[in-house]
């Protein structure tokens, strides 16, 4: 029986590759949008404005304190009742972008605050504008703290994207779920699903570890 199911599984390989593409598309889009929004929010959060800091902090807490599955259900079911009809794919991208942005915001704010305040003072004393300070003094140094956890966050994002299968986006996990109804060999089917995720995540994890070592060598003292 195993051999039979194995050939069946091989025949549905194109289906799995379509799912892989969907996973890459959903997480790729959210990764780009989430990084941009996350950086903006992180910079705002690290800035002096108290009200902004408070609002962003509350948003981050709300996202961190609730499961992604609940967030995606809220976005998928609640926006329509506010008159915004969404298909599963855009709903998934919005939910995942929101999640990514909130985590990246924290990473960026942490990185900026880790830059010694003397650097900013020196930049101000040299007559640099706030934009120039950020662009030439703060961010280049903060990137060293930001980069390793940022890549680690991308791994989490790819893995969290599996949850969008719950609203019917046909990603790798959903393909596995559909296939297992036809080929009742859960270990084989979800073994394959796992391998496909592994192919995306493992290099990213190694990249994150590499960056961490690399950035540690440069030294934290300035």
């Amino acid at each position: 029986m195993w051999g039979f199911y194995f050939t069946e599984l091989l025949h549905s390989l194109p289906f799995f590759l379509k799912g892989l593409w969907m996973t890459v598309a959903v997480s790729g889009l959210s990764l780009i949008a989430g990084t941009v929004i996350g950086f903006v929010c992180g910079i705002l959060r690290a800035s002096g404005n108290k009200i902004l800091r408070y609002i962003i902090g509350a948003w981050v807490d709300l996202i961190r304190g609730t499961p992604f599955l609940v967030q995606i259900f809220i976005i998928f079911f609640i926006l329509p009742s506010a008159g915004i009809e969404l298909e599963a794919f855009p709903a998934a991208v919005i939910a995942l972008t929101n999640l990514a942005a909130s985590f990246i915001c924290e990473i960026v704010a942490g990185g900026i605050l880790a830059v010694p305040s003397g650097q900013r003072e020196a930049a101000t004393a040299s007559g640099l504008s706030p934009y120039q300070q950020l662009r030439y003094i703060i961010l280049p140094q903060a990137m060293r703290t930001i980069l390793p956890p940022l890549v680690g966050q991308y791994v989490l994002l790819v893995k969290d994207s599996s949850v969008v299968s719950a609203i019917g986006v046909v990603d790798i996990t959903r393909v596995g779920w559909l296939t297992v109804q036809r080929i009742p060999e859960g270990i084989m089917v979800f073994g394959l699903v796992g391998i496909l995720y592994f192919v995306i995540c493992y290099p990213l994890i190694n990249l994150s570890n590499f960056l961490e070592r690399r950035m540690a060598v440069v030294g934290t003292r300035l």
Binding site: D61, L62, R64, G65, T66, P67, F68, L69, V70, Q71, F73, I74, F77, I78, S81, A82, V155, V158, K159, D160, S161, S162, V163, S165, A166, I172, T173, G176, W177, V180, P184, E185, G186, I187, V189, F190, G191, V193, G194, Y197, F198, C201, Y202, I205
Partner: protein, 222 residues
Amino acid sequence: MLETFNFRVIWEYMPLYLQCFQATLWLSAVSLLGAILVGIIACAMRLSQTKTISRIAGIYIESIRSTPLLAQLYFFYFGLPSLGLMLPEWVTGVLALTLNSGAYYAEIIRAGIQAIPYGQIEAGISSGLSYFQRMRYIILPQALGMTIRPMLGQAIVLVKDSSLLSLISIAELTRAGQLLTSDRFMPVEGFLTTAAFYLIIYYMLKGFSAWSEKRLIFREAH
């Protein structure tokens, strides 16, 4: 959307929510205990001098970390029956959560142990402290101080991850929201109430984390 918010339905379903809240709490608690145990064992194996043992733990940790929990959950849910092993859903769910978080705990514990400079252990030995005394007064206080925050962070992740168990029809908090959606078609009320319950757990654990940081952290360890 909010002007039609129906508090009466929430009140009507409150017994269900409380029951599901309890289920989430104990499912998470059991998985948490299991995960810390698995984490300690996996960490000890990973640090073992014997290559084979270390490698087995390494494969376990890496494969868990590079695949999503949902795929692992389905792997057990659909895979164990195809091996002829029929387990109740909640056992499958706890098993998946335990093995998933166990890998992360192994890494957290390892980071804590390896962060203690070897000189401290040597100093303990030369001061004539016994193995137990060194553990009790030198290694554990520092290791605990350094790992308590990531440990509680992972506990928060575990509680949120337990929401995925609703997808294999275990009655917990997210499932309560789904029931309210399918029975009454009130997803707004359903999932916002679910989110509120998760936030209660989140803020409790977050508060505990902040408190323990003040109590336990050994500043020189940083």
